[in-house]
Symmetry: C2
Subunit: 190 residues, 2 copies
């Protein structure tokens, strides 16, 4: 049976609907990616995850693993590639799973969607979802991975103090005033 970690395909679709709000094609493929990565992890007790895109894929990780954005075990480093890396948090050894463009070419509806070859409204969504289910993990590639040592381990954000401008606490090592007061937020008025 077409299982995605501990869930049937249909159960996973229900989880997507409930958490993500709609059945995004990338999130379904993301389920197969998480499943493949977890089955190929090197031995180790704890793993962390990096998503190479902020689109859809982080939600597959959050739905299927203990790693969330808020607990810090999932990090998003958005380089725009639809790929993720699972690695042991101590050794840094792991696997990277990505969409293999050559394998994807066998599935024209997925290929068109993924490479953005057609405007959304011209896509054949029933062919797209059908091919995603049928293709499963066959469109994925995987390679071993080693994370740089200085990226591993929990970084302390250092001492906290009130921002001299807004008065709210912020990590003092961010500078003389907080990032909110230095204009990093898109607020016209606060």
């Amino acid at each position: 049976m077409n299982m995605i970690t501990d869930y049937t395909y249909e159960e996973y679709l229900e989880k997507i609907q409930s958490f993500h709000g709609h059945l995004a094609p990338g999130l379904i493929i993301g389920g197969f990616m998480v499943d493949l990565a977890m089955k190929n992890l090197p031995p180790g007790e704890f793993f962390d995850v990096i998503c190479e895109t902020g689109n859809c894929l982080p939600d597959a990780v959050q739905l299927l693993t203990p790693c969330t954005v808020g607990n810090g075990w999932l990090k998003i480093i958005d380089v725009g590639r639809f790929a993720l890396s699972f690695y042991d948090k101590y050794s840094g050894k792991g696997v990277r799973v990505y969409i293999d463009r050559e394998r994807l070419a066998a599935w024209p509806a997925i290929y068109e969607w993924f490479m953005k070859l057609k405007p959304k409204k011209e896509q054949d969504s029933s062919a797209l979802f059908g091919q995603i289910k049928e293709a499963g993990s066959s469109i994925l590639g995987m390679s071993p991975l080693l994370i740089k040592r200085d990226f591993l381990g929990k970084k302390s954000s250092g001492p906290v103090g009130p921002c001299p401008s807004c008065g709210e606490p912020y990590p003092l090592n961010q500078g003389g005033i907080c990032g909110g007061c230095s204009g990093r937020l898109p607020y016209a008025e606060e």
Copy 2:
């Protein structure tokens, strides 16, 4: 009763445990923050959220609202302030909820934890959790907010093509090679 959106306090703690893995103090306070923001939203059909920190708070939003990192309705702009903004996705009008340091001073265990005045192992965690539950939303501040117009609306990531270095598809407007190949990822080997 001490409700957090549609959940009792105890139900919310169970949701935290299941999604986040442990009862993080910040995530409990985050529940009160989300609840306060949602009760004070200006009229409108759809809202988006900005978290001003990546620690804990994004998970409160993901647990209690339809907004997730992967569906794009929750954005994290990490300026290190424990605050969040809910706003109408069309008008940009909304509210910002933050921890009010003066009000917090009435709750010494929360104050010590929040201002990092004591090492974790010296904290009195039963006092901390007791005060968080008792304080509820009384430690929060709220202000109206307007999001800058150019931040609103969905941005297209533009055309996609294969990276000339790794061959994987990436948004071409990111540059001549993808961010993975230009060294933005902490990979020693791939």
